[in-house]
Symmetry: D2
Subunit: 188 residues, 4 copies
């Protein structure tokens, strides 16, 4: 059974990145994969200081365990200063090769201004560094303030189609690369 | 008078990045510039959640004030997963255009394995995004465990020369681009 | 006297990159700098095969000579496949450190689709590699087919302002970094 | 049957990039895949001028046809000025989405100086742009002049192991992602 973990790199209460992750997670679930969202606003994580273990922060172990058991990971970042957020990079710094190697990842970014792919490019390089696959499909959501409605629902038809294709590719190619099946209900 | 702020993106007690920053700071001081080191291990900074102000964390204001008043900034990062550390990116996320625009920056990275310029490339793009200059000279210190001695002194002659050229360029070009003078003592 | 060379990396007869270069060159000239356009459609350049000299291609020497004598360089590229054109990269490959070191460069890109900064990011890294400065101001012209009129004049007011700021920064900072003056007429 | 095309972006007569491509091609063949080398020194290709067709250059069609029919592509570039060669980028500019979409690529670079991954990073972004997969394994060959012997054989044991792992991953994952089988002889 394909298991996907989703992490969004924004701590804002009404974060568009978290909304975008929800939208992608729904589609991935509808395709028959299991999805677990690790909400960094709920986890108590330390700044990475290069230690192997963080006994005072049990959420480090929890996050690592979830990613370790996953076949794939969705990462969504707000684009801050032309790159991924420090919050998301720090979460990745708390993990490594042993958690990501051979996993299949899908990348999304959310911007206040015009769409751009700086953060997506940087994330792709970072994930290669820890030996993960990244699907060619990626989604950058520009001018997020008008892409979502008040309840956090994505309004833009074109973006919704891109997220559909993104979810489809992530699930299909995770099956292919990892040799895992979907949930029975979804296969039917 | 040229004022330079130095920030290293590692929280390790015996961090090579902090040692490298010290080495660069000494040379910059010897050239007549004032240098202030902001040691992220001493500052109490929050994760950036997109807020403008962080009243519970006075060190945010302190860091911003120092960078605001500086003409130039030295940034040193450990290369984690082929990019800058989340710790350093988060510190940058807590600042922005208003603190960095028009400032002159110099970049260094420290790696456990072979030298590489991934983190330096990412930082250069990030700093452009907040409208800072970055000098062409940059220093990547590979296999840091053998580049420094037990007391944190850089041993490698070639790297020491690169840091000399780095400091020279940073001070000279900050003067040119910012129209500021050096301390009297140094000018003599 | 500030001397700027302009090179656009497109060979299309009605290239938007060449039009964009013209627009920037006009403004730079109006600020009192001398501008020479090296039109790659007029030059007969070989593919770089790693040789030092290309005796059968006198335009290699001509291009190198012009860049060698310049204080600054404007580079404009069409964004092909998320990076600069092979045509422009090949022209840069025919030159090197000795032509670009210490020069001040300004970067623009032209895209058929949405604006993006992939090509600009790659160029910035490449120019650092050959030890050139790149100004923080950069211009990406998205959906070029509607940004220009039939005669190749840029229509978009916002982009025109960005090109003004780009030209201003290039000329001012070339003066500062290179210690060169403008033409008398312009200074008055 | 897995078909792989190999392209190296150097025109030098004794190009290390071409030698590196040969080394990788041998291992890929030994694993049962068919490999066709497109030697850019033998092909007569024009500079890309944005045209769709190049009737005066039949090798454009030949190259496109080979890549179109391939399941995977090995790209090797000399790292020139911190990026891929203009020669290789131009060859890619002559192709596009229709030739690369869904294909599986593996990337190598060759450097005169210290190993670095600038060119590999840029190629990874470019290939994503034309919707190809790139395997996480990549090989950067630094100080190429001492990595190969006079006959172009790679001497460095560590690099040979990396090329083995690279070839293994390319063949295995091309099978998985493309749903194609190996040659009978190899399967046995």
């Amino acid at each position: 059974m394909v298991k996907i973990v989703g992490i969004a790199g924004s701590l804002r209460p009404d974060s568009y990145s978290q909304y975008a992750l929800q939208a992608a997670a729904e589609r991935v679930r509808a395709l028959g994969a299991e999805v677990e969202i690790l909400d960094l606003r709920q986890l108590n994580l330390p700044f990475c200081d290069g230690s192997d273990e963080y006994p005072d922060y049990p959420d480090v172990k929890r996050m690592r365990q979830s990613v370790l058991q996953a076949d794939g990971v969705i990462l969504v970042t707000p684009e801050y200063h032309g790159s991924l957020s420090g919050v998301l990079k720090n979460a990745l710094d708390l993990m490594g090769f042993e958690h990501f190697s051979g996993k299949v990842t899908g990348l999304m970014s959310v911007l206040g201004g015009q769409s751009n792919s700086n953060a997506l490019n940087d994330m792709r390089t970072i994930l290669r560094w820890i030996h993960a696959w990244t699907i060619p499909e990626q989604v950058a959501i520009g001018q997020a303030w008008k892409a979502f409605d008040q309840d956090g629902n994505l309004q833009d038809e074109n973006l919704l189609k891109r997220i559909d294709a993104f979810a489809q590719s992530l699930v299909e190619n995770t099956q292919k690369l990892r040799g895992v099946a979907l949930q029975a209900a979804a296969v039917v």
